[in-house]
Amino acid sequence: MAAPLQKLDDLKIRLDQKIQQSILKKKIPPFGQTKASLGFKAPHTAEAFARKTLPSFKKNMDQALSTLMKTKRQKLKEIVQHLKSLDPKNVLKRGYAILFALNEGSVIVTAQDLRDGQQVRALLSDGEANLTVNQPFIHHGN
C-alpha cells in the first residue's frame, strides 16, 4: 500500500516542478507584438501620438489664452467707458463747481453747511482753488 502512495507523491512533486519551470520559461511578449497579436495593424507609439497632437494642442491652448485675454480686456474697456460717462466731474465742464469742506473733505451741497469766513475748496473742470466763504445766505422757498 505504501508503494503506490509513494509513487503518487513522486508524481505530484514532478508535476509541480514542471509547472514551475513552464511558468519561469514563459516570456512576456513586447508591447508592440501584443498589440499586433490583438489585431492592431499600424500601432502608434505614444511618442508618435504626442508628436502629432502636441502642436495642435499648443496652438489651441494659445488661442484659448488669447481669446481669454481679449475678452477680459474688452470687458474692462466697456466698464471704463461706462464709468467715464458717469464721472461726477463731467458736470464741471458745464460750468458747475463742487465745494469741499477744507478740513473734513466732505462735499458741501447746501448753503446751510457754510459759515462766514469758512475755508472751502472748489473743484473746477481743470483744477482746484481754496475759497473763503463770505456772507452765505439761504434762498428760502427752494
Binding site: 499648443k58 494659445d62 489664452l65 485675454m69 477680459k72 480686456r73 470687458k75 474692462l76 466698464i79 471704463v80 461706462h82 464709468l83 458717469l86 464721472d87 461726477p88 466731474k89 463742487i98 466732505s106 462735499v107 451741497v109
Partner: protein, 83 residues
C-alpha cells in the same frame, strides 16, 4: 489686503460700483469716492492684464526657443561689447 486683489475681484468690485452709480440714488460725495475707488481698480485691472500678457508672451517665446530665462525666470541679457 488691497494689494492682493486679483483681476476678477477688482472687476467684480468695479461692476458693483457701476451698478451703484447707475442707480441714480447716490449722493455726490459718495459718487466721487466711488469714482476714485474705480479709478484705482481700473489701474489695478490693467496692470494685472498687462502682466499676464507679458507672462504669456514670455512663456510662448521660451517654448519656441526664442528666449532663454535665468533662474529668476527673467530673460537673460548681455552687456554691449565696446570694441
Amino acid at each position: 489686503m488691497e494689494t492682493e486683489l486679483n483681476f476678477e475681484s477688482a472687476f467684480t468690485r468695479l461692476e458693483v460700483i457701476l451698478d451703484r452709480m447707475n442707480s441714480g440714488n447716490i449722493a455726490l460725495d459718495e459718487s466721487l469716492k466711488l469714482y476714485e475707488e474705480a479709478d484705482g481698480l481700473i489701474a489695478r485691472c490693467a496692470t494685472r492684464l498687462n502682466s499676464a500678457e507679458a507672462r504669456i508672451e514670455t512663456l510662448i517665446k521660451k517654448r519656441n526657443g526664442e528666449l532663454v530665462l535665468n533662474a529668476e525666470e527673467k530673460p537673460l541679457t548681455e552687456s554691449f561689447q565696446t570694441t
